[in-house]
Amino acid sequence: MDDLLLISFLIYIAGIVAILVLPKNMSAKIAGISGSVGSVALLSFALHSLFSKTIYTASLWMIPNIGYLSIRVDYLSAFFLIATAIVTLPASIFASTRVSYIKESNNSFLLVLFLSLIIFVILVLISSNIFLFLLVWEVMSILIYLLVNSGKSERAGYIMLAVGETGTLAIAIAFLLLATNAKTLSFEGLEASISSLSVGMQWSVFILSFLGFGIKGGLIPFNFWISRAYSVTPTAFIPFIAGATLNLGLYGIIRVNANFLPMSEVGFGVILLIVGSITALIGILYATIEDNFKTILAHSSIENAGIIITAFGASMIFLTSGHKVAASMALVASLYHLLNHSVFKTLLFMGAGVIEDESKTKSLDKLGGLLKRMPWTGFFVLIGVLSISAMPPFNGFVSEWLTLESLLRSVELASLGVKVSFIIAGVLLALTAGLTVTCFTRAFSMSFLGMARSKSIEKTKEVTKTTLAPMALLAIVAFLLGVLPTFVIPTIDRAVYPITSASATTALVPPFFNNQKVADKLPSGFVNDFHNIGAQVGKNTLYGRGVVVMHRGGKDNPVVFAMSTSYMLITFLILFGLTVGLVWLLVARKRTVVYKTRWDGGIKNLLPQMTYTASGFAQPVRVIFSTILRSNISNQKETASKHFRLSIKQERQEVHLIDRLVLYPLMNFAKKLSHLLAKMHSGKINTYASYAILTLLVFLGISFYM
């Protein structure tokens, strides 16, 4: 089974070679096939290594002074490989069908880049040598940069690349600090020598790695590249880039904190928690007011990264304070959300990209009524939207619920200060969750529902089946991840256990509810009190190892929280069926339904512009968060007849908070400094000569007094 990794690599490489060799009109198909088949191999490899509990290692060649470039697939890597493979499979099919929509480009070259990107994403996850890691990390960034720029917008790509480089350097320093301590560049070596890290070193490594990986992972304060880059990337590639590469930043943060730092400082967790939740809020805030579906999704990626990091931070805090089970739970929540985010974000980006391509408009204000024209796309996007808004029983709900519950577990902590940080994070996340619903109801309804707000929509048609298939696949996965948490959690738990050395499965999916007869291990009161609840009955009525996610507390408090999406789904379906059936039987069949024009208050001619726009929908958010958003109304223009105002035109400008606080000041500083230094080059040779003589004098002066 270990060969499967190699096989998947070979499939990807074969794809690249085939694209280069075979005629150009076949390249799309080849890319789709090799991308998806390779991913299947990868998925089976990763699942196998997770379930058979084998750690796959290999060494490549040696570089002097660096050591052997080695790769290793441990459980964490395997989990991330699963997440990557799940995204890669549909995304490569999608890319192959949509690549022809990129105008004026060498498509087969782009597909080669795409397949290489897949390879490098995998390499990032499996490399276990600092140098190799940084190398593939940055190559991956460059490949993304090239793919982003194939959308004809170099500034966004540039900013991404530049910030990414900052991140890479920060990571490099962090890793090198670790390596200096460990005297080796291999990950195993770093892991082995964590005990000798001084506190100062731990903090430097933490801050630097958090900064560096946070840039890729979309955390504040350096996430300004995401919205820029994602919104311009061609539809063909953005699902993969958004779904698979954002994870890598989070992978880095988890890897460093979980494996390379001794987890003795509670401050790391608190920082992760607070930064994560603030990131989430800022991300969703801007997503809510954005006008372009892709940009909305980009901001929402930031938000989800924030949620993931919040949960991870909670896990770190629990771990440092000795609550291992709670830590496992939070980490499961974090990784679960990461997996979910990959799935639904990929799905949504596919949908958003398809909308943009087919309707040829980027503005939500001009979309509308697409559901009738693209029913299936609309349906899949709706599933994505439901998932991302954490609506039960879809996957986003499970992980968001787990995250919130693990934040609520802060009751176990002793320190007041840490508790307060949990509360802050929880409140921010709750606000985020509320805004997410606002954001995505807006995004979905303004694009798919209501009436078409521009002419180009009228001609929009449903996309082909091959484009729909990946979306359908992801929608199904999103649904399954939602209703089968009892299968997913133990799987993730395999990756979590080595980190926290406590199983979340026994806590979250208690054996009491399994077919295994372990009821006698539990306090008898528990069994007696609760033997009539549905959860227990479910072990006989529903197939599976148990269906209820619940956390078991102490003896006096048997159940702390519980949730079962599969039960919810069944109950929901029963209720739905009953209601629909009854309504049909008793009422609906006797009544007629007439389709008439909308009720518009009797206006003579309701123009699309007069209906409520996406901008209007977001206006309350703008007003309430005006302190943060600072919309500037500028260029107000009025045209007036003699007596009446005929029209008012305003332009609204919103400079992103991060741009305002971080990016622009930095840019201005660099600009000013560079212009100041440029004055040095006056062009006059006399001046230049005077520099030389002054330098000489200064040097001599220094040496004179040395």
Binding site: S682, G683, I685
Partner: protein, 226 residues
């Protein structure tokens, strides 16, 4: 080294003084031709110093240095310049300098004093040879003033003379501190200086042809920021 007579020492000191004075002349004259003449004077004092130091104990090396310098700098170089950039030397007059003459002279003076102070710790490493006490500060001053010439003069030829003055300064120190430099290096050095003059001559001509001025200091097409 040990038995340098006081006469030679004094003469050498005199040559040093005159060397500096002529360097001041290179820095501060308006006439390009006069500047060239001061350079020739400076070279002559360098030759005198070399010869003086080479007299006792007799050093063929230093004599050769004197001879080479005499030939190259006093005769060949002006000839070469005349051939290459005749027009500029004899017709042009440098109207403006970067700094006016009194100011530049004051700064030059300061540089000279600085040179003296900077060289103090070096000459103290060799307490016997008193010529070093003259030649090193004077040479350093020559170097400084040559460099300073480059910063204040805008015309092409005076800039070349500045460069050459710097080398002269280095040599002036060199005759005292490195009297037994291998002859081949000396020859090569001289050859080097001639090529330098030649190349700069070509460039000056190109400047004149292409740009129409020899006022190099006013050229600033290549710079950052419009």
């Amino acid at each position: 080294m040990s038995n340098i007579t006081p006469l030679i020492t004094n003469l050498n000191a005199l040559a040093g003084g005159l060397f500096i004075v002529s360097t001041f002349g290179i820095v501060a004259t308006r006439q390009i031709k006069a500047s060239l003449k001061f350079f020739i004077l400076q070279s002559i004092f360098l030759v005198i110093s070399a010869v003086l130091l080479g007299l006792k104990p007799f050093s063929l090396d230093l004599m050769a240095v004197g001879a080479i310098n005499l030939i190259t700098k006093v005769f060949l170089l002006p000839w070469l310049l005349k051939r290459m950039v005749k027009k500029e030397i004899y017709t042009k007059r440098e109207i403006t300098q970067v700094l006016n003459i009194p100011t530049s002279l004051i700064i030059a003076l300061i540089l000279t004093i600085a040179a003296y102070f900077f060289s103090l710790p070096w000459v103290e490493t060799q307490n016997i040879s008193s010529v070093v006490h003259i030649n090193v500060p004077v040479g350093l001053a020559g170097l400084f003033l040559g460099a300073y010439t480059l910063t204040v003069r805008r015309e092409a030829v005076p800039q070349l003379l500045g460069l050459l003055a710097m080398e002269n300064g280095a040599f002036f120190a060199g005759v005292a501190i490195a009297p037994d430099l291998p002859l081949i290096s000396e020859l090569a050095l001289a050859f080097d200086i001639l090529i330098l003059t030649f190349v700069i001559g070509i460039l000056t001509r190109s400047v004149h042809e292409q740009i129409g001025t020899t006022s190099i200091g006013n050229l600033s097409k290549l710079k950052e920021e419009a």
